[in-house]
Symmetry: D2
Subunit: 342 residues, 4 copies
């Protein structure tokens, strides 16, 4: 079988590096283009030292000169909506990793991202396969979900679809790589390590994205709060989902069974055997979402925990999963790696 | 002025080491006894390498041979209740760092600690100066609060005393030193670092301690949940207090002002200027509790954050603060160190 | 092509977990046996939480009941020499990860490991493919090299084979996983993180192993010193090789070219483009050895740096590389993973 | 006794913050001026969150308006030589923390720092009290030593003064705070943690500073090499001193005794009891230099280890020690803090 051709736009960051690490071994993919404006002509190993053995260079081509069947767009939001249409127009499939196409309600996007959307007419499928697998199959444009939303939504779906909860408080702990490749005060080692620092306590951009999906675009009546914390971890998003049950006639075991059933056919969501508590480190480098630790206390507070690698299931791995579905490949192609533990 | 004599019982652990580090510079204290059964006769620097310059040895005396005005008891719960009475009988003041004397309701103790209390008749004062300063002045036996309860209670008091909230969900992140000096799977570096792992999701022993104090022993009608997470940090307890407001007619600013007013005379509780978000690292090694980041979202969820060093304000520093109050010293004697940052 | 059958003896530790992580995807291998005395009957994910998706259980079979073509022996030294002969006698090929069969000079083994060797007659090939590839092809018993020796020897070979240096001082920095899965004071998070601690300053067991190989069993006249340091890193061995040149008529560029030439056909040793300084994190999780940073100062001190993952090229990955060579597979089968960075 | 007035120039960085943390408790010091051009008018806690309880603001005065007896100059090299003369001219004593005044040989400075020295006529005393205590007493301008040189020189003095070694190879491991408060690729958490990365392998600016002092300005015939490595630690410099002995008739015990004798009256250099191996974490936050682990192997390689906190004994603490000596205070005033461990 011949391989499809793949391009990666904006490959100088962590999601770009991660796409390269994973796609390089994908059995059905040939990487034809790896773009970076700033690093045009340089070996990819200059920015991605783990890719020393690949013989690839960054380029900075005109969109017309990109030879690809599928394009991964890893440029910043705001830039993405400008470049994506060029590739769609040429008949390529696009997986966009920015926030530009994630919202059904464009006004929500414009409010939270502080800019006008120049292509509100473009319809993208929100690329969470656990919700939208069928739609993804036929899509040309995938809005790859945010890292926090991926973990948050997967921890919540069985609860909201069964009307079990009235309120969900998502307390997330994230690795520092989520802040990207560019150094800043936020990512400075001496004040990042041996520390905990939350940010955007009640106003993170991923909040409306989570709410659209969890609330099924306003259909479901559940209050959703979300707070992210930086913890001294490289990769990963650990979400402690504190939900308030509507009524107390449901047991921990019932809910655990519900999750097992809900995700039983999912290749990348694992409800842990014996309801073990997930460890962030167990999913390091892998595309798995681990769910477990389902517990209820005597105040009708329910805890559900999800753990993902923010750069894999929370970004590049999920993007490849979406490509696999769009292209009719096995959904796990190129994504079979287990977590790197310890 | 002559110095008081102080003994430390069970000084081989982290709270023992921390008492030594801090008391060694206390202007009104002379350390006369440092006990350890296992390390009898050894230099304290064998276990506490930062104390190389102190000329102190562990001993293992009979309680009758301890020459002290105040005794800090840093032995495990269960052991503490056996040894404390001997020192009280000799007229010494005791600050107990275990859980043995923290509960008004002995049945609660016996249920959560899984053992019979052999001295239910002993009355201790719960040593949180911000609640019980006057009682501490006259006390002979102080039950030094648990590390999680200290941060949790201080984050909650202004809310519950003003009947502002109906439910408090405490999502705490703790440094690994809280697990003590003894190696275990829980504290093994390769699986502890670059990881997040909660434990005792809905059944940690500190839950009833927090509930007794926050609920004022049943008088207040507020639901309290508590979940601790190990994060790769040496010291510190970071508590994200997610509260549900009773009504929504109170603003963030109102609540921030309320906290400022409530703690304005407290030497060790700092409501941060401009409502800054606390950093765990800012209180490293100090007796301060930082409070800030007070935020409300559109679902009546209120966030308040507190940060302490679990070994100082959460244990040994608070124990010394209690001693200072009991002995009529300046409350900040020996505790003036600022955080070690970065 | 049918797959070979593989057994892993003593799979409860980190090298066992790593063999499973890597072999599970090996195209020519079927894992038939995973032994652990203590965990007989348990799911492997109980000890190796990243292996949740594998459906494998530990067993504790008699050697006669192990159905395998190749056996990886990951039990402790001393135990290994007792069990290995049983498998050889049954005609299986064995890769032993302990120190038991690494020494040509049995007296050296007995002195440094403090025990009598009960099978001095068994001849093993020292499994460093970069030295012994041809011998490995025909071997039945491979002594997989120690983690420190792997990085140390690879950093030294071109120098000693060209008689360039009179003295080699190896200052190695190792991740904590090298201490194994069992918790100890040495691996206790609170005193392991934010710290540097060397050990066995001049008397580590890997010293004689390094000396046998670097000195070609006494043929070469070069003084070799080795000192390991624990640094707060999970995986990896970073070796700063400080060598004293015999004469000063050789330039940095000459030596860099020498290394490039020496390793140009090696699939897993990469002399970095442009003589870049290796990063430990670049080889995380991969079987690569990165070499670079070759520099000379005005005192004829030469620096060469090597970086490996102690659990992969320093243990389980190299073991699989040896198996591939012994079995006539492509040497890189199952080992194509790039480093996980960041 | 009245307090002296102290100013800190360029207090926005880590050494500035550390001077404030330590001086705030100094019994004989009043802080009158804390300058920062960029942060003029701001509360110091905006940059130094651990100083929340201090009531100090940054200012940006003309040198004539600084009211101080002693000035600490924590501005970058190059800037320092421009501003220091103004303060000396006003009769103030100056402790300069930059490299500008550390070299006896101005040509060495100009070569390694790449700029012309505009005040070569100014004579400073190299502020390592263990060498120059008597000269410091009468000095007006102190060149506070570099962080690496402090640990390196203290590890070497007894060896070179007794003509025991012909070559010293200093392999240093440093915490990331040494790179300063400004974020950069070098200090970016995701690639800094779980990593080891050396830099300036044979050409670090501290090399000539170390050589001037260890070689006693050319009088002693010893070859000195120095290589720094960044390890994932906040603070500290750990120096593994690999020396080659001139002859082999000296034992480990002899050398250990020599070190004990050499430093026996030093308040801040501790040769560890029983020749224990120093831990970097033991000196965290303190002004101590720990020395130990003295070991010799069978190739006449001698190991001596020193550990300091780069921001305290390696910078701000040593600066205060110098001030104490210059002002006739007790040398340990304000510096009695023990290490923060764990």
């Amino acid at each position: 079988m011949s391989k499809i051709k793949v391009g990666i736009l904006g490959a100088s960051g962590y999601t770009g590096g991660e796409l390269l690490r994973l796609l390089y071994k994908h059995p059905k993919v040939e990487i034809t283009t790896v773009t970076s404006r700033k690093n045009d002509g340089e070996d990819v190993s200059v920015l991605h030292p783990h890719l020393e053995s690949l013989d690839l260079k960054f380029s900075n081509p005109n969109s017309k000169d990109v030879d690809a069947d599928v394009v991964f767009c890893a440029v910043p939001h705001g830039v993405s909506m400008k470049v994506v249409p060029d590739y769609l127009d040429q008949g390529m499939k696009v997986v966009d990793l920015s926030g530009d196409f994630r919202f059904k309600n464009i006004k929500t996007y414009e409010k939270w991202y502080g800019m006008e959307h120049i292509h509100p007419e473009l319809e993208a499928v929100f690329g969470l396969p656990e919700i939208n697998r069928e739609l993804i199959k036929d899509a040309n444009l995938i809005a790859n979900p945010g890292c926090f939303p991926t973990g948050a939504i997967l921890s919540s779906l069985p609860l909201v679809e069964n009307d079990l909860v009235e309120r969900i408080i998502l307390d997330s702990k994230t690795g520092i790589s989520g802040a990207g490749v560019k150094p800043s005060d936020k990512t400075h080692y001496p004040t990042c390590t041996d520390n905990v620092k939350p940010y955007a306590l009640t106003n993170h951009r991923h909040t409306p994205e989570i709410r659209e999906q969890i609330g099924n675009f306003g259909e479901l009546d559940v209050k959703v709060s979300f707070t992210p914390h930086l913890v001294p971890v490289i990769r990963g998003i650990y979400t402690t989902n504190h939900s308030i049950l509507v009524k107390d006639d449901v047991s921990e075991d019932d809910i655990y069974s519900l999750y097992c059933e809900y995700y039983k056919d999912e290749p990348f969501v694992q409800v842990l055997k014996d309801n073990k508590i997930p460890l962030l480190a167990s999913v390091r480098g892998s595309n798995y979402c681990h769910i477990g630790g389902i517990s209820k206390d005597d105040t009708d507070q329910l805890i559900v925990i999800s753990a993902i690698d923010n750069l894999v299931k929370g970004a590049s791995g999920q993007a490849i999963q979406n490509m696999n579905i769009m292209c009719g490949f096995d959904e796990t192609d190129g994504l079979k790696e287990l977590g790197l533990y310890p």
